[in-house]
Subunit: 336 residues, 2 copies
């Protein structure tokens, strides 16, 4: 096999076949995928089916704390678990740029295998395309996931009530600032790494304590600010955030100050925001803090009013108030 | 709204939101998609679930007989129906290149809406990423589809028996040669167009006549030759094709002769190959010919032996025999 990806690897002929058999299936194989049929036949328990899709175009494809493969698996898993789904199956589609090192591709596929194993999902169907040099950027991945939502779980912004607490599961902005530092060649000066992680275990622990969690979202592109604004808008409420309670690493805050970025707009890849009934918020928080992925969780705010003019505002540490807007324009492209 | 796609349209902030609400949801909307949750909640009848994924990178994105949007919907539908699935839901993920005209994007989304409506599937979840100019090529699309395989349908190459007939549903190579002509600026000199079409109706008609069809495949990348070789290998058989019986348009044959291409390696996007029990082959063929998408269907060959050395060979019109190999290397990149 060549040590680089060639256009022929996307031809649908013998080269494609060899790449798929010798590398992809060998690493990710299972009885369903191994059949290499046009569509995979699956078994699922009965229940409500959930489906989500994401394409990943992050640059660089390998960064401190993760790579595009891990990100693709966990990102899609996280979208499923945000609506309470138990994930079962993933599809996996590559768009490779001609000329990339086979070694890089192999590393990403290994990382995908490890991430899928870690979450307990199977890759059941896939696709590999190759585009000419200069028509892509090394590797783009689409993962689409399906799973089952257990009975009794029914999250929806409409259930949000005044007094509900807003919980953030950990420090804000780690992924975005890591990628930024990495691109600017600053990665040697900090031990910062991406928070890229799956949230299934955390979500299970939370729903065990309080099945009536109103809504959960993972603040990826657009950051915490964009997710809170989406929730406020969909629920028709005003949300207050207390800045002093928002967990953030000093390196992340420092980089944001230096670069004039608002950390509320910076992407996360292993964090969630949950709106939880006030009476069970402390108990949910304790369950979260008992897990490594929730050890820095905090109640960062609450729902203060129903309103026709949904809004998110921050009470700053010096006692002033500012409106927290959705990210406008683009802060940092290709974060995921 | 700007008349071009900007990086901000992929930021996850207000620009992303406006693009999704004002263009994508307005065109493709349905109660499930409109919720814009991280994962869509779906209803499916009971039965075996099937899943397939494909990324589309065809260039140019608009070509005679179709465009990348139509191709993405029909391509994924066709992969589902090849295993007898009734398609229900699609996910849709875009990778857009910064700077492309919003008008082109709108046209593609309209085309997706029309194709989905035509097949009776819903787009239930999606994703939009934007990459910098020069890091993509206008528009790449991933569609992942799920559906249900009715009881009693069980296609698999292992069921293939000696004597089974091989049917091709229509003329070979139309899509590949159209794209090639289009890229070389030859499109004005011919009325050739892509065969890009959904195959669900044809498959239903065939399974109504013969539920025990052994296997069906759509000969896209790699062409008829690659699909026949895959089938031969998976079934452990020798397949004979009679060249004189293979339907092909004179323009396609002419272009292939001119360019030194083997039409058996050229991609199709609205054709299928089926291996059918000998006793019902004529009846299946009649049912196919009764539909516009199967009007040129023909029995092109048969399974001649079980073997440890699977092989496909062609009896040429002049009475000689040649081995039909899978496509090696790449004939024409980015055909789909």
């Amino acid at each position: 096999m060549s040590d680089k990806i060639l256009l022929g690897h996307g031809s649908g002929g013998t080269m494609t076949r060899k790449l798929i058999e010798n590398l992809i299936v060998k690493t990710l194989g299972n009885p369903t995928l191994n059949k290499l049929t046009d569509a995979a036949t699956l078994n699922l328990p009965s229940g409500r089916l959930a489906m989500t899709t994401d394409s990943f175009v992050v640059t660089p494809p390998v960064f401190p704390g993760g790579d595009i493969g891990k990100l693709a698996v966990y990102g899609t898993i996280n979208d499923l678990v945000m609506v309470g789904t138990k994930p079962f199956y993933l599809s996996l589609a590559f768009i490779l740029e001609e000329g990339i090192e086979l070694e890089l591709f192999r590393r990403i596929v290994d990382s995908i295998a490890e991430a899928a194993e870690n979450v307990g999902v199977e890759i059941v169907t896939g696709d590999t395309k190759v585009v000419e040099k200069g028509k892509g950027d090394q590797i783009y991945i689409n993962t689409t996931g399906i799973g089952i939502i257990p009975d009794g779980i029914e999250m929806s912004p409409e259930r949000i009530q005044v007094g509900d607490k807003v919980i953030l599961s950990g420090t804000m902005g780690d992924h975005g600032i890591t990628i930024l530092a990495c691109r600017k060649g600053l990665e040697m000066k900090t031990d910062l790494k991406s928070d890229c992680a799956p949230l299934h275990r955390l979500v299970n622990a939370m729903l065990d304590v309080e099945p009536k969690i109103r809504v959960m979202r993972d603040p990826t592109r657009g950051g915490v600010a964009s997710v809170l604004n989406e929730i406020a808008e969909q629920a028709g409420v005003e949300i207050k955030v207390e800045e002093s309670r928002v967990p953030i690493l000093p390196q992340v805050q420092g980089m944001c100050d230096l670069l004039g970025l608002d950390p509320f707009h910076v992407a996360n890849e292993g964090k969630l925001i949950a709106v939880v009934p006030a009476e069970s918020a402390e108990e949910v928080l304790s369950a979260m803090r008992a897990l490594p992925e929730g050890k820095d969780a905090a109640i960062i705010g609450e729902v203060v009013a129903k309103t026709e003019y949904p809004e998110v505002f921050v009470e700053t540490e010096i006692g002033t108030t500012r409106i927290l807007e959705m990210l406008a324009g683009d802060q940092l492209p290709r974060i995921c």
